[in-house]
């Protein structure tokens, strides 16, 4: 009974259905990007020299927090997924709270801020990953992806999820701005009858 009431509350309008679906997708995309990059770690042992006939081994680790851009990436993706979770909860459960127009405005402005946040994080990580993958012969920075292939692959997966999140957040933000001019303002029905059979 509660489930059907929630479902009818969340899908009372066509743009609301689109918004809810997009928010669910964006939440899952950014959360998976944060988790995959946060758990990104690879340890490898290399032979760095020989003393006589015995090789000297050194163990190197590639972790996400060696690079500040990846730390920003994880934090920003976590924040954006939390924002999407809040908005989903507001859309499903917030029907009885009757505010003024400031609720709609704050949703639109928060969506805008989170769009800029996620695009900044995804792009910073993308360019740092490009330097790590191709190196830079002008600055004499060597590439690291030929030695830490698993680390680079996991990072690439997280980046793809984050860019999907960027596109989804852009659509969500544009939809939120467009809904500011519609007459039926809130997504959830405010006067849903609570009949318990």
């Amino acid at each position: 009974m509660a489930v059907s009431k929630l479902a009818s509350a969340a899908t009372s309008d066509k743009s609301c259905k689109i918004l809810l679906g997009m928010r669910l997708l964006a939440f899952s995309a950014t959360l998976s990007a944060a988790i995959v990059m946060g758990l990104n770690k690879q340890t490898k042992t290399f032979v760095v020299g020989k003393v006589g006939n015995t090789p000297i081994n050194a163990t190197f680790t590639a972790k996400f927090d060696h690079t500040p851009a990846f730390v920003f990436f994880v934090v920003a993706n976590a924040m954006v997924s939390f924002h999407n979770l809040l908005m989903i909860a507001l859309q499903i459960f917030g029907g009885k709270m009757e505010f003024t127009g400031s609720r709609l405005l704050s949703v639109a402005i928060l969506d805008m801020l989170n769009v800029t946040l996620i695009s900044a994080a995804a792009n910073a990580a993308a360019f740092m990953a490009e330097v790590g993958k191709n190196g830079n012969k002008h600055a004499r920075w060597e590439k690291i992806c030929d030695r830490f292939a698993t680390y680079c692959d996991h990072g690439a997966g997280a980046l793809m999820a984050a860019f999907a999140g960027v596109i989804l957040m852009l659509i969500i933000s544009a939809t939120s701005i467009c809904r500011l001019v519609q007459s039926n303002k809130y997504c959830s029905t405010t006067a849903s009858p609570s009949v318990v059979p």
């Binding site: 680790t61 590639a62 972790k63 060696h66 690079t67 500040p68 851009a69 920003f72 003024t100 127009g101 709609l104 405005l105 639109a108 402005i109 805008m112 769009v115 800029t116 946040l117 695009s119 900044a120 994080a121 995804a122 792009n123 910073a124 990580a125 993308a126 360019f127 740092m128 490009e130 330097v131 790590g132 830079n136 002008h138 600055a139 004499r140 920075w141 060597e142 690291i144 960027v166 852009l170 933000s173 544009a174 701005i177 500011l180 001019v181």
Partner: protein, 164 residues
């Protein structure tokens, strides 16, 4: 009278953002330094790093867009579309600034774990000019965030105060 000050405020913000983005482009394009290192000579240009090229392109797009929107007539119907375009341009600005700052930070501090040495010690004037360009990009970004909130408040009318 209120509408005149609104329109004037929007124009002033947009002109300032245009100047900031243009300044960022010019500062980064003219940053070029040659440093000699025994017999090796290292020339540092902005186009060595892909993130700086993206920064220049993005800020050039933003400055051209701001210049064009400055001349949009007041009663045009395109103002509602300008809100969405402003959002996309803000995304472009923030992504380019963030990428350039991430790469410049590696150039300044290096990355000890990856074995990347900082380059700012050898080309200090190049690094200072890049820093100036990034600050101008940050100013353009902040102005565009204000412009976004301004556009939403005045063009889209969220409190539905105007009867239409």
């Amino acid at each position: 009278m209120v509408k005149l000050t609104q329109r004037l405020g929007g124009l002033v913000l947009r002109f300032a953002a245009f100047c900031a983005a243009l300044g960022a482009v010019i500062a980064m394009i003219t940053s070029r330094e040659r440093s000699s290192f025994f017999v090796l000579s290292l020339v540092a240009k902005y186009s060595d790093l892909a993130a700086f090229k993206y920064f220049v392109i993005a800020n050039a797009i933003v400055s051209v867009y701001s210049f064009l929107v400055l001349f949009l007539p007041k009663e045009s119907l395109l103002w509602k579309f300008v809100v969405v375009l402003d959002l996309m341009v803000t995304m472009l600005l923030t992504s380019s600034l963030s990428a350039a700052v991430a790469v410049a930070q590696v150039g300044k501090r290096g990355n000890a774990n990856a074995g990347w040495l900082p380059i700012c010690g050898q080309v200090p004037r190049f690094c200072d000019q890049i820093t100036g360009a990034l600050i101008a990009g940050l100013v353009a970004l902040v102005l565009y965030v204000f412009l976004l909130i301004f556009s939403i408040h005045h063009v889209v009318d969220p409190f539905l105060l105007r009867k239409s």
